[in-house]
């Protein structure tokens, strides 16, 4: 037996497929898979929310005892006034349970519906509004979220997303990051439709309470005036709320369709 020194002509142990191509094929596959899963489970959440009675909901949520970290009430007088405004909607909106309002001192121009029948209003909102009608539209919008049970839907989707990511990748690695960003876009889209729904509910409530829908677009118009000059076009893709102009247009269109008149607004009393 003689040894013949030679090297192999080509390497059979290494595949020739380009790794970048493989990467895109695999990423697309995973995203399609996860989006289908997310969509299907989101549908299940919607069905489950419709089945869940408000008694069951408060029973479930009372066990959670979530601390939202908004601190103690700092403006009891204003808070009581807001509570009165919210209570005034009672005959107009059939809400499943009483809603308590918390006023939080903050520059943020926002309000939110949190699970457990709690509405958080940031004081920046009061500063940006000049009419009671405008404020009541925003309050009614948040009440609309409670009525449509959007807080449960979004929470349910959040849970579904975490579980999906954990099951698939153990909640680590960059893959979860890609996933989270894609799902964020999907969630944003979903939220936009829920927001429009809540706007619709709020418009009904406003008409029922005042007999007209004047002031409904006040906040959006104020915000839009502030945003003017800044190009926010690309942000729209990531935002959970419909674009301001679109929102204003939708509200006008809807009130025309329903024949709701627009009249003068009441001035908001401030301290």
């Amino acid at each position: 037996m003689n040894y013949e020194p030679s090297l192999p002509e080509h390497n059979d142990n290494v595949s020739l497929q380009h790794p970048v191509r493989e990467f895109f094929v695999l990423v697309t596959g995973v995203l399609v898979f996860v989006l289908i899963g997310y969509w299907a489970l989101g549908f299940v959440v919607d069905v489950a929310v419709d089945y869940l009675s408000s008694e069951q909901e408060s029973k479930l949520l009372s066990k959670l005892d979530i601390n939202w970290g908004f601190g103690e009430e700092s403006m009891p007088e204003e808070q009581a006034k807001l509570q009165d405004l919210v209570d005034a909607f009672k005959p107009c909106l059939s809400l499943p349970y009483p809603i308590t309002v918390s006023l939080v001192k903050s520059k943020m121009v926002n309000a939110m519906a949190v699970p457990g029948g709690k509405m958080v209003v940031f004081s920046g909102l009061l500063d940006s509004l000049s009419s009671t009608n405008g404020l009541m539209f925003i309050l009614a919008h948040e009440l609309g979220h409670f009525k449509n049970r959007d807080h449960l839907r979004l929470m349910g989707r959040g849970i579904v997303l975490s579980i999906l990511a954990m099951l698939a990748f153990g909640g680590d690695s960059g893959i979860s990051d890609i996933l989270a960003s894609t799902i964020n876009l999907r969630t944003a889209k979903y939220s936009q439709s829920r927001e429009s729904q809540a706007d619709r509910t709020a418009l009904h409530a406003l008409q029922c309470h005042f007999g007209h829908v004047g002031g409904a677009t006040e906040l959006f118009e104020t915000l839009q005036a502030e945003e003017e000059g800044i190009d926010l076009e690309f942000l729209h893709y990531f935002s959970t709320h419909p674009e301001l102009q679109q929102r204003i247009d939708d509200l006008y269109r809807l009130s025309q369709e329903l024949g709701y008149p627009t009249k003068g607004t009441q001035k908001l009393m401030k301290h």
Partner: protein, 157 residues
């Protein structure tokens, strides 16, 4: 959004630097393999020239640890999901195996033959599941034999 940016930067850096390092390593491997190809290295248990007197033999080994880059690791993670051949690890193992054998050969440049070559692989993973770094160790070992002086002149080397 922020984590996605960091992730994309890591991905591109991993790909670029991984590719550069791999190309450099392969060039070095090929050059050294050509230099050392004339040293017979087999998995046989007995010398090929059975009648050649042997002066002495020794255990020789070469080993290497190579780490994977971020891009390849991610690719393997995605592959985990669907199954199939993990192509992104192929070059890693190929390089490690060849480098280990080269180091083994370089450790005994005056040997006439290396017998009974064995290769062992183990993975080195440090950290928990989330911070895992995929590295591979390849150990090559064998018996280097030296022919006695008189017969060396006739050896194929």
């Amino acid at each position: 959004m922020e984590s996605l940016t960091v992730f994309l930067i890591l991905l591109v850096l991993g790909y670029v630097f991984g590719k550069l390092a791999e190309g450099r390593h392969y060039r070095s491997i090929q050059a050294r393999e050509e230099m050392l190809v004339r040293l017979p290295t087999t998995s046989c248990k007995k010398p090929m020239g059975k009648s050649t007197p042997i002066s002495h033999a020794e255990l020789v080994h070469g080993h290497v640890v190579i780490s994977i880059d971020y891009f390849k690791q991610l690719l393997a993670g995605l592959r985990n999901f669907f199954g199939g051949t993990v192509q992104s690890y192929e070059t890693l193992l190929d390089r490690a195996r060849r480098e280990a054998i080269l180091r083994l050969k370089e450790s005994c440049p005056t040997a006439n033959e290396i017998l009974n070559l064995r290769i062992e692989t183990s993975s080195i993973s440090k950290g928990g599941n989330s911070e895992r770094v995929g590295s591979v160790e390849v150990l090559a070992y064998g018996t280097a034999i030296y022919y006695s002086q008189a017969s060396t002149q006739h050896s194929p080397l």
